[in-house]
């Protein structure tokens, strides 16, 4: 079986490769955590592409219930149809709406399922999915049928750590924590996304980027996705690398900083620091 490796567009560290391959081989869910903007969601797309399998995305909100991933029984439409005397009302199956997991279970080809931001949901959500993810089957009460996965899907789960996940759930998963990439890896990532970027521009931009990340007290440190957005802007504007250059001690507010600093307090903090640095130097 072809394993998962870094691709042209996605630089995966060796530990991530091992974790993904373990999850694929043993057919257990992989739980991915990490700072926002380090490529948790993109990972699922890349895994699906690398393994050549369809991707089914299930985005979780605070109102999402576990049952919605399996199926929903639309009692309200049935009641309405009953009142209107519609023929469809006699078959309950007309009112069973398939969820994302059912879709994945029913698929003839093994699918990759992304359960995105599982921590957004209610605290009981992961517990409600334990058996379904373990056995890859569930029971539909309304029609008295058991849905069993034809091919056990590959399940990737992302979490931003807003809620703690139950132990019983964690025990069934593999776990990977995406660390913030170091400078070398970041250079590779930039290269992968923008192969034709000017070398000097990329170097200066990375200097500025890591300098900003080192500023203490930022509310939201810019992450990989912000860096990539910013670089794109810089390339579109075709700024010379000199515009970014600053000497070691002096902080300057980088051009187009709106792509990096997403919070007005952070911008203020940065302006203040830059002002102090100018005055001190």
């Amino acid at each position: 079986m072809a394993g998962f490796k870094s691709t042209e567009h996605y630089i995966a560290s060796r530990d991530l490769e091992v974790a993904v391959n373990a999850a694929v081989t043993l057919q257990r869910p992989l739980l991915v955590k990490g700072e926002p903007g380090t490529g948790k969601t993109v990972l699922a797309h890349e895994v699906a592409q690398a393994l050549g399998k369809p991707l089914i995305e299930w985005h979780i909100k605070s109102t999402t219930k576990a049952q919605q991933g399996l199926y929903e029984y639309d009692a309200v439409s049935r009641l309405r149809d009953g009142q209107l005397g519609d023929e469809r009302v006699h078959d309950i199956r007309n009112y069973i709406i398939r969820g994302k997991l059912w879709e994945a279970f029913a698929s003839d080809q093994q699918a990759v399922v992304l359960i995105d931001e599982i921590d957004k949901a209610d605290i009981e959500f992961p517990n409600d999915l334990l058996l379904e993810l373990d056995r890859m089957q569930f029971f539909v009460y309304e029609t008295r049928e058991t849905v069993v996965a034809k091919q056990r899907p590959i399940i990737l789960i992302t979490s931003n750590n807003e809620k703690e996940l139950p132990d019983a759930f964690l025990r069934r998963c593999f776990f990977h924590y995406i660390r913030f990439p170091d400078r070398d890896t970041m250079e590779k990532i930039v290269q992968a996304h923008y192969p034709d970027i000017r070398k000097d521009l990329a170097r200066e931009a990375l200097n500025v980027f890591f300098q900003i990340r080192d500023v203490p007290g930022l509310k939201k440190k810019p992450a990989t996705s912000e860096l990539l957005d910013w670089l794109k802007l810089l390339m579109v504007e075709d700024l010379p690398a000199d515009a970014l250059r600053s000497n070691e001690k002096q902080l300057v507010i980088p051009p187009l900083h709106g792509a990096l600093l997403k919070n007005e307090q952070d911008v203020h903090l940065f302006e203040r620091l830059a002002f102090l640095a100018r005055r001190g130097g």
Binding site: R14, A22, L30, T63, R80, Q83, D122
Partner: protein
């Protein structure tokens, strides 16, 4: 196979179960990784650790188990006091000097020697070529040069000659028993947010649905209402100035972060111990004081009261009338603490100093008694315990 790894992990307090162990064995059998130590480390980590807080402990246990080393008695290898290793100077060697440095032998020899040295060594050390410290040419320690070196407690690689991945301890920030760093802060806030909001957004309004369905001549008309949110009201009392200056940044971080998380959040400053007056603006602390009675009258008992302070002061500031260092107080601090905790049904004290040292400071012990034991350290764990206590 490798059974001592799981035993070591459990002994270190990681919640690793047999199921996970069997999963790891299964993965090995399936040949997920080939015969590489690093890959095995990654696989074991993905299988056995389920929370980034435990990654650091895992690294330590893995290092101890996998190299067949007994965890050294006395000083644990990776827990050298940071002060030893703080770089005071960095020694730069010329290439000739570098070439002169002889490697001591294989990795095993190095590790064995390290343990011997650790047993012998008692104090901090810097420079030189034998002892463990910083900027020396001994193979042990940090910021020095020896091609076969074992790095301890160095926060980045200087010569890019790291021997082992797990010794870098990149996940140290995520360990939840250490005081809050920037990242730890975020996790702590999520705990606070969980405390602030509970429940999903919508639910069916039965009475209204029945009524409007009836009005509609029996045609179904659903009515929804937003589910009630748990509106947690918080009253923050922040200790400012004096002995708190060390902790002020931490306190402010917590405070500013809290402000965005709660709808009903009021803050007041006090100094060392709350008395009959508090203030809202620290720059104008002498002009704009607010009587504590007014705070008690304004905010009802359903507010949850959180003190943030190190509680380090003279015991007289708590027990005696007129004990305050700033002004003459008519009533003792303990009276005010009791009055405040009596008025508010739920209250707690967050203390930024490490819990181990509380017993050594008399005033902290006294305050903890006044709070009936509801004093918590300002760590992720402490905040967790506090929110649990407050929302009970």
């Amino acid at each position: 196979m490798f059974a001592h790894l799981i035993l070591g992990l459990r002994a270190a307090g990681l919640p690793t179960s047999i199921t996970e162990w069997l999963t790891l064995m299964g993965a090995m059998k399936e040949g997920v990784v080939e015969y590489s130590v690093d890959d095995f480390y990654f696989l074991a980590r993905a299988t056995l650790v389920k929370d980034e807080r435990h990654l650091d402990k895992f690294d330590r246990v893995f290092a101890a188990c996998f190299k067949g080393l007994e965890p050294p008695e006395g000083i644990p290898v990776q827990d050298l006091p940071e002060e030893w290793l703080r770089k005071l100077a960095e020694k730069m060697l010329t290439p000739e000097e570098m070439a002169k440095i002889e490697a001591l032998g294989g990795l095993d020899a190095l590790m064995k020697r390290l343990q011997e040295l650790l047993d012998e060594q008692k104090g901090r050390h810097q420079g030189g070529s034998k002892w463990i410290g910083t900027a020396g040419t001994s193979p042990f320690g940090a910021y020095g040069y020896n091609p076969e070196g074992v790095r301890i407690g160095q926060d980045r690689s200087r010569h890019r000659r790291a021997v082992k991945v797990w010794d870098k301890r990149e996940f140290k920030d995520l360990d939840d028993t250490v005081e809050l760093g920037t990242r730890g802060m975020k996790v702590a806030l999520r705990r606070l947010r969980r405390f602030a909001r509970q429940g999903a957004a919508t639910e069916l309004d039965m009475p209204d649905t029945i009524k409007s369905t009836a009005n509609n001549a029996g045609m179904l008309d659903l009515k929804m209402v937003p589910e009630r949110h748990n509106t947690v009201k918080v009253l923050l009392f922040l200790d400012i100035g004096g002995s708190m200056d060390d902790h002020i940044r931490l306190t402010e971080e917590l405070f500013s972060a809290c402000r965005t998380e709660f709808k009903h959040l009021e803050h007041y400053y006090f100094h060392n111990c709350p008395y009959e007056r508090v203030w809202k603006n620290n720059r104008r602390r002498h002009e704009e004081v607010i009587p504590t009675w007014q705070v008690l009258r304004t905010y009802g008992p359903d507010y949850k009261l959180i003190f943030v302070g190190d509680g380090a002061m003279s015991p007289y500031e708590i027990t005696m009338q007129g004990g305050s260092v700033e002004h003459w107080n008519e009533e003792a601090g303990s009276v005010w603490v009791e009055r405040l905790t009596g008025h508010y049904r739920r209250s707690a004290w967050l203390n930024p100093t490490p819990k181990q040292s509380w017993g050594h400071v008399r005033s902290i012990t006294m305050l903890n008694d006044l709070m009936e034991g509801r004093m918590y350290p300002l760590t992720v764990n402490g905040i967790d315990e506090m929110t649990r206590e407050l929302s009970r």
